[in-house]
Amino acid sequence: MSSVLYDVPGPKARRTSLIGSVIGVVLIAALLAWAIMTLAQQGIFQAQRWAIFGQADVWTLIFNGISATLSAAAIAAVIAFPLGLLLCLMRISDVAWIRIPTRIVLEFLRGMPVVLMMLFVLLVFATSSFIAVVAGLVLYNAAIFAEIIRAGIQSLPRGQREAGLAIGLTSFQSRLTIELPQAVRRMLPSLVAQLVVLLKDTSLGYIVAYGELLRAVQVMADFLGPQFLFPVFFVAAAIYIAINLAVSRLAIWIERHGSKKAAGGVAKAPTAGVSTIVK
């Protein structure tokens, strides 16, 4: 792989970078060893602290947490996507009194913390915390989906729309039958990457007392005793990260094996994963 910054290294540069690698590995290993030593001093590695994972109850609680996390995320995604499509169509409408209010609403939804929306729904509508979590996720992610799809439509070659209009489709028909399907295919990597953000934001449910994975950890630590907080937290966090990594990989896989049905191919997944990055 050639880099922008340096040439393919020669023998001398290879030796230097090998020495650098060795020093780097030693430094990182020392850092890890220090962290493990510190943890060991706290008695983290005592077998009895990890023995709780031999109990079925502990796993039942963890899996309840995971299923609460995943079900909130899945329901929110299923509602947010069609809503995002609708908001996108309204945002690019030819009619000013549809377009402009939609734009203001989208700016508003994108500019607010998700957890604030969850708290708002929870307190103002006095709903269950599950509905508050789903509503917060739907409102925010529908706005982001709308902006992603809009970016997809704008990135299509102009001829797509022109051809649609030329064969007598109305503006709306062209959007719906020609541009939108291509835009969704084109932005599939970004849409899947946004799912990771949605999944991560489910953990905000902890703050509005929804019984997701992190809440399950807290409950278990309260129940079993504080000395078990770290082991339970460690396992739960590892599961969470593994799920997210799998979905991220999926986005990258789709990007590589992109559909040929979209004019201009498949767009890159946003590298920074920050949901607001929509050009």
Binding site: V4, L5, F120, S203, L204, L229, K279
Partner: protein, 216 residues
């Protein structure tokens, strides 16, 4: 609506604390993120691997988990904080630095290889290539995503409010408790103060993007 005017002092204090959290974490994240990006593009394999592992893991970790770790798990491990702000700054800057690193790296990679090759072929040193050819081009593509990361940081700082830090969201929760009859207006007020930061920043990102856009 009276409750908003009544609570202006709290709002203002929370607003300043939110700005403070975001500014301090932002600066730390910029420095750490740039170092991580430098490690990621360096010729030393070990540094590349470390940086990649860090970015991949942190990017896929929910911020709430990072906060939980800093504010709840770390004190159990013997690391106690005088103020929870410090735990919040650690969580926010550790989280944000991974995104900064990705943005900087993609900026450097967006410069065509030919640019550096041409510079080297006319005899420029590494430092000259970097400072005169690569960085000026990389920065133009990087600034808009950077601003977007900072916007996300401001919004993310709200999680601190749930972990004992009295910033905008923290005050919002407290005020909502105190004014059970006007919860809606209390939270609308909080939203307004967040929008006061995020909307202008978003507009700035958009403007910068249009201004520095280069046809490649």
């Amino acid at each position: 609506m009276d409750v908003i005017i009544e609570s202006l002092p709290q709002y203002w204090d929370g607003f300043l604390r939110t700005l403070f959290l975001a500014a301090v974490s932002g600066i730390i994240a910029l420095v750490v993120g740039t170092l991580l990006a430098a490690a990621r593009v360096s010729p030393v394999a070990a540094l590349r691997g470390f940086s990649m592992a860090y970015v991949e893991v942190v990017r896929n970790t929910p911020l709430t988990i990072a906060f939980f770790f800093a504010a709840v798990v770390l004190p159990r491990l013997g690391v106690t904080f005088q103020q929870f702000e410090i735990a919040a700054i650690i969580a926010l800057s550790a989280y944000t630095s991974a995104f900064i690193a990705e943005a900087v790296r993609s900026g450097v990679n967006s410069v065509p290889v030919g640019q550096a090759e041409a510079a080297r072929s006319i005899g420029m040193q590494f430092g000259q290539v970097l400072s005169l050819i690569i960085l000026p081009q990389a920065l133009r593509t990087v600034i808009p995503p950077m601003i977007n990361i900072l916007i996300a940081l401001v919004k993310n700082s709200s999680v601190a409010g749930a972990f004992y830090v009295l910033e905008l969201f923290g005050y919002g929760k407290q005020l909502a408790n105190d004014h059970g009859d006007a919860v809606m207006w209390v939270l609308v007020g909080v939203a307004f103060f967040y929008l006061l930061i995020t909307v202008p920043l978003g507009y700035l990102a958009h403007q910068v993007e249009r201004k520095v856009a280069i046809a490649r």
